[in-house]
Symmetry: C2
Subunit: 316 residues, 2 copies
Amino acid sequence: MKIKGIGGEFALIKRITKFVKDKDLIKGIGDDAAVIKIGNKYLVITTDTLVEGDHFSFKWFTPKQVGKKAIEINASDIGAMGAVPKYVLVSLVLPVDIDVEVIDEIYKGMWEAGKKYNTKIIGGNMTHGKQLVIDIDMIGEAKKENLKFRSSARPGDFILVSGDLGASTAGLNLFLNNTKDHDYVKKKHLEPKAKFYKVKKFLKYINAMIDVSDGLASDITRICEQSNVGAIIFKGNIPIKEETRNAARAVGKDAVDYALYGGEDFELIYTVSKDNLGKVGGFLVGEITKKKGVRLYSNSKERLITKHGYDHFLIK
Amino acid sequence: MKIKGIGGEFALIKRITKFVKDKDLIKGIGDDAAVIKIGNKYLVITTDTLVEGDHFSFKWFTPKQVGKKAIEINASDIGAMGAVPKYVLVSLVLPVDIDVEVIDEIYKGMWEAGKKYNTKIIGGNMTHGKQLVIDIDMIGEAKKENLKFRSSARPGDFILVSGDLGASTAGLNLFLNNTKDHDYVKKKHLEPKAKFYKVKKFLKYINAMIDVSDGLASDITRICEQSNVGAIIFKGNIPIKEETRNAARAVGKDAVDYALYGGEDFELIYTVSKDNLGKVGGFLVGEITKKKGVRLYSNSKERLITKHGYDHFLIK
């Protein structure tokens, strides 16, 4: 059995995941990060990997931007748990012919992005391989009452997103097509930022939360699967900037597809009960339902949407 | 500037390392693992990477052995800090054509090795790339009084190792040369084991400690650099099994070189004051000196030995 194809990653994770019982393990595999209780503190731990040619290309990324991205995407996972980043370990797989200046710049980017969050690099590892791989482990801390899981969405909750979607994928597609201009979406692709500061003030009203790493369709599916619920997304309410629509049009694509299946926006998706809707910010894009499956509502019609967001195994 | 060549890794680490000030950071970059204080608990965190073709080859490793190795080498780092492993995060970079059965077996190996230490896989990440990369993050816990650092060796301390050296490298060289038999050293290469159980009973008498991942010369140099001391190693006292000497001879090599520069034995090197020598086990191989540099004593002569142990950047 090969892992190629839609859903390969999902099937694989299910196959190798074991149920772990541990009194101090608050959340294991299946969320943006694991949560362990250490004394009376809650530690949130995540790991994410950037592979050259898959997650970034030096054709359009500077090494410093790559370093920043490595930190931001992990900070995004930590933030999606309701935690704040604290410490970082960096594992590098380096091709033997890489310039040290490139590594210097990657580290500069990591320190610069880390500084924003008062996050420090405290360890790591270096070895060599055929292509550059940057693996980040990030450790954050959360107050118990702030911890947010994918599994806490309830039927009747509204679904909100913290900002506009699809821009990063639009940017990537412009780069892949050598298309000029459209600086807004290109910058969104080159300089992603964790967005947890946007929800900080109203965290207590949020039921379930996840960050948009693989697209709205894929990431809301993760909430639904973990919460044992379904969702309906109102197509017309998905926040997409005019710049993103224009950029998509320039390469003959639909910006809604980028928002649903593109990923790497690192906005947050969160669910809120009707009573609390007035107390939170963000864009209302749908509703959690008892009925399973994720459906897209448009022109008075509903259709099931699949979870095949930005499937890393599909990208060549 | 390219990172090829002897000492490239050392120079690079110095270049990108920043001094980190943080009240809860007990030990940052420069030891087997980082140590942070969470409430009144001491958390020890390490990361280590296995790259196919560099750290293992499926020509002689089974996928299960690879999984076990990934856990054991990280457990060795945690143990070298005086801590016990608790939790694991697994980041995989998978070639698109890998069989799922291979990944199943790698995970089986990881669970099996983890079980020995009551260590659980609580999270991870998966993506694809040109070659298989297994990056493990391991989190352990230590009592404050058990924490051991590379930086605590004192002039006059004796240097001990917990077991015989050179066997793993001997095994690797037999595989590379397609040499038959010599099962002892081959098994040592294929099934490395963390050895911290060997020093558990007398931890309190140990001053500085490190695990042998890159060879006695390289790893004692790390202790010396961190402790601002030197060392003398008595060549005749390095514990090397007859099986290892025979295996080295079979490919025209000297087993002492394997012990000094080979690595991956995962025995522990530790220093103990003269007063405490009678209270610890292990093989006495040398002495910590005020005089800087690491010297090898043999036939009434001393010579400086360099730290270029198993330099991953030198291995093709």
